[in-house]
């Protein structure tokens, strides 16, 4: 959490922007993730993966940011993918309806593999 917890990190692999969400997804980290997504979107990336492995807690404002990100990516024809969700996180995304609009994978590896398959079949960027 603040001061002690892990902040979010962004890296890129195989054309996929991978965002490791920090341990607390709230307005602050949500806004930063949104900025990063914007930035990579402008660079032409079309596949985004948020890895929740390190995320211990998320709040409703953080969720609102995720919804905003999802909306932005959909309008740009880009994809949003989640991985490493805990049972409760998955439940929350189902409650908020977000689960219907993002691809959810058990692990980061699964996600990248699946997204790459999409590339190979011409569905990717």
């Amino acid at each position: 959490m603040k001061g002690k917890g892990s902040p979010f990190k962004v890296r890129e692999a195989d054309g996929v922007v991978i965002i490791e969400a920090g341990d607390y997804l709230n307005s602050i980290s949500g806004e930063k993730i949104e900025e990063e997504v914007d930035c990579y979107l402008k660079k032409g990336f079309r596949h985004f993966l948020i890895n929740f492995e390190k995320t211990k807690i998320l709040n409703s404002i953080g969720i609102s940011f995720l919804i905003g990100i999802m909306e932005r990516l959909r309008s740009e024809g880009a994809t949003l993918n989640f991985s490493n969700l805990s049972k409760t996180q998955k439940e929350i995304f189902e409650i908020t309806g977000l689960a219907k609009y993002v691809n959810i994978f058990p692990t980061e590896g699964d996600a990248i593999l699946r997204i790459r398959k999409g590339f190979d079949s011409g569905a990717g960027n």
């Binding site: 959490m1 807690i57 404002i61 609102s64 909306e71 409650i95 609009y101």
Partner: protein, 709 residues
């Protein structure tokens, strides 16, 4: 519809029906679509909504399924979201996604006509901050608001009959009120007839008297998609009493109603055609469905089980082609007087020829009836009883709460202990004069209802327990018990128990005289309730009398004390400042406490998420200078209670809601899911408007390993 696949024929039928209807919808007031379940109302209404969206630019169709909206909590928020989504579909190209209402409103505001956005900024927060019934009332004014800006908002209420469920009757009353406003903008409401007990009966008389046409035109080759369209512009009247009659006769049985419509060759639908269908189905069904429907109809008409039995015997007697003269009826069927016979004849099951009674159709044989009866009616009552219990327990998981289960089990022990004893009547009665006599409980089967909703004055049928093994046809008694712990018992609790017991007895062929209704109340009885209890000869026992009864029975009454045993609670309290991410401190403490209480990892996460939201909520409403929020954790054997409290000046809830909403609208994307998350993550969430601030209670019940969540 006939099949589950969506093929071009279905679409053609819908197109054709839309074509027929277009232009017939009245420009004001309510249009009722009434039809049997499964007849395609929902399919058509969704299609109608889509077509209006495509073809009528000045109109916004808002399809609202009350079944969906009312299935969750936060009716008002869900309602607001659905309305705003409908507006979005008309004026915006955003993805059709259920964003929270504040976000939807923010994005729509600039695209709405000048002034409408501003108005919606006021009315939508008012809707979502209101009690549900008030929210519904406000929502009925939305079409008027839109109309004043030249937009027709056509609200299509599907599953409208759901409002007649017992716990939704308040909504129904709001609707009833709005029906009387004849100049109201158009609404379409749709419901299945026959399903709600009083749906038709509750409609105001001017609705009942409006003409009704059968729509669309009949076609025997089509299956499903039968809808009755009622409107002032329709020119065809149904016979008086059509709907109550069809309700009475079929109880919404789709087979019957569908055929009533199909069998009529003209636009006039009435009692004749209904009777013909009843006759038709009385011999063609191979399952016991019709027999059961029929039995229910008879039961409703002749609520005395003895009389019902006699009616059934008469029809069975007549079913083998036999007849009986009217003069012989009193000897053989002494309970059936002429009025009762006329009532049976009106149902189309029995006809009279000269002086003799016959069954209406010779093909309805005694073998069929007896076979069905043997198959369905005479099955082992204990099995049926246990099936009911199982259904109830899975429907509401209240029994997973250890304390409640304790009370039920303990009361079962009490009843068992009473069996065969003579008990002083004073433990059960509230009469002015003390009564010295005794009562006895031989061979008791125990049935139980419980109310654990302290915030609402209503008795829920939550659980049912009985000893099915002891159920026998000759020698049984039933104690139907309502235990109310959350509030004082009022008349409605008494009536609820009486209704439940009557229904239960009828279903199980339980003679009413064998039943004793007993209400046990922790918080006593209102005067009106006592009056009703005395009138109906119920047993009533408050907590103090129950303790005395337990002493009399030489039983421990520990289970009665548990709920009050606050001394057994352990409490921790922390104070957190209103500061960025301070809520995580509270969450950390919650994590530690919840882990010690052996909540599993997922439950710990849920508790943390709910508490985070509660703290954020408290931060927003902390108006005092010190800006502190107090979080208290109270642990008992049964549950973890977290109270989040802020102090400050008294909050004007309406003003705060408005301010919060304005803040949400003008700020970046903010919350909207907070309360929803809290409620989903915890077992109970209670907001309390207290002196000098607000208090929010989050409750998570502790469950033994192996018990479901």
């Amino acid at each position: 519809m006939a099949g589950s696949s969506w093929n071009s024929t279905n679409r053609e039928i819908l197109e054709s029906r839309y074509h027929d209807l277009r232009g017939k919808l009245p420009s004001h007031g309510f249009t009722l679509f009434l039809g049997p379940r499964g007849s395609g109302k929902t399919t058509f209404l969704r299609f109608l909504s889509k077509k209006i969206l495509e073809e009528k630019e000045g109109q916004i169709p808002a399809y609202l399924s009350l079944n969906e909206i009312l299935s969750g909590r936060d009716f008002s928020e869900r309602f607001a979201v659905e309305i705003l989504r409908a507006v979005s579909r008309r004026i915006d190209s955003i993805p059709d996604f259920p964003f929270p209402s504040d976000i939807l409103l923010k994005r729509l505001k600039d695209q709405l006509p000048t002034g409408l956005g501003r108005e919606l900024e006021l009315i939508i927060p008012a809707i979502i901050s209101s009690e549900d019934t008030k929210a519904l009332s406000l929502s009925l004014h939305l079409p008027e608001l839109f109309k004043s800006f030249g937009i027709e908002l056509l609200i299509i209420w599907d599953d409208f009959d759901l409002l007649w469920k017992e716990d939704l009757r308040n909504y129904a009353k709001v609707f009833m009120g709005s029906f009387t406003e004849v100049d109201t903008p158009p609404h379409i409401i749709a419901g299945s007839w026959g399903y709600p007990e009083n749906f038709y009966m509750d409609l105001p008389s001017h609705i009942k008297s409006i003409p009704c046409i059968q729509w669309p035109p009949l076609n025997r080759d089509e299956t499903g998609s039968m809808v009755l369209f009622m409107s002032e512009e329709a020119g065809v009247k149904v016979e008086e009493g059509f709907i109550p009659y069809i309700h009475l006769l079929t109880e919404g049985n789709p087979l019957c109603i569908h055929s009533i419509i199909k069998s009529s060759s003209e636009m006039r639908v009435g009692i004749e055609s209904i009777n013909s269908v009843i006759k038709f189905y009385s011999h063609t069904v191979t399952s016991g469905d019709f027999y059961l429907y029929w039995k229910r109809i008879l039961r409703d008409t002749f609520s005395d089980p003895s009389l019902l039995r006699e009616v059934l015997s008469l029809t069975e007697y007549l079913s083998d082609g036999r007849s009986i003269s009217l003069s012989a009826i009193p000897d053989r069927f002494p309970l059936l007087d002429l009025d009762k016979l006329k009532a049976i004849m009106r149902m189309g099951l029995i006809r009279i020829s000269g002086e003799n009674l016959h069954i209406s159709d010779g093909r309805l044989t005694g073998d069929v009836l007896r076979g069905i009866r043997g198959e369905i009616i005479e099955r082992q009552p204990a099995d049926l009883l246990m099936m009911d219990i199982f259904r109830d327990l899975t429907k509401r998981d209240i029994l997973s709460e250890a304390e409640d289960r304790n009370i039920i089990i303990s009361m079962k022990d009490v009843i068992n202990k009473m069996s065969g004893l003579k008990i002083p009547r004073r433990f059960f009665t509230y009469e002015d004069q003390p009564i010295d006599d005794t009562v006895s409980f031989p061979n008791v089967i125990f049935s139980c209802l419980i109310d654990f909703e302290p915030s609402e004055m209503k008795a829920h049928i939550v659980s049912l327990c009985c000893d099915g093994d002891r159920y026998s046809a000759e020698n049984e008694r039933l104690i139907s018990m309502l235990i109310v712990t959350g509030c004082e018992v009022d008349v409605k609790h008494v009536d609820s128990l009486l209704r439940f017991t009557l229904r239960y007895a009828m279903q199980r062929k339980f003679d009413l005289w064998k039943i004793r209704n007993w209400i046990v109340s922790k918080k006593g009885f209102s005067e009106a309730a006592i009056k009703r209890i005395n009138e109906e000869h119920l047993y009533a026992t408050d907590w103090e009398r129950l303790k005395e009864l337990l002493k009399f029975l030489e039983m421990e009454y520990i289970f009665l004390e548990k709920r009050e045993g606050k001394e057994q609670e352990t409490e921790y309290e922390i104070v957190i400042p209103v500061a960025s991410e301070a809520e995580t401190i509270a969450a950390k403490v919650a994590e530690e406490i919840a882990s010690r209480l052996e909540f599993d990892e997922d439950e710990v996460q849920r508790i943390k998420i709910a508490l985070i939201e509660a703290c954020i909520n408290a931060f927003e409403h902390a108006y005092d200078e010190k800006k502190k929020v107090f979080v208290k954790f109270s642990i008992s054997d049964e549950r973890l209670l977290i109270v989040v409290r802020n102090y400050g000046r008294k909050i004007d809830l309406e003003r705060v809601e408005k301010e919060v909403m304005e803040k949400k609208l003008t700020g970046i994307k903010k919350r909207g899911w907070g309360i929803i998350l809290m409620k989903e993550m915890m077992d109970e969430v209670v907001f309390e408007d207290v002196e000098m601030g607000t208090k929010l209670k989050l409750i998570k019940y502790r469950r033994k390993k192996g018990e479901g969540a």
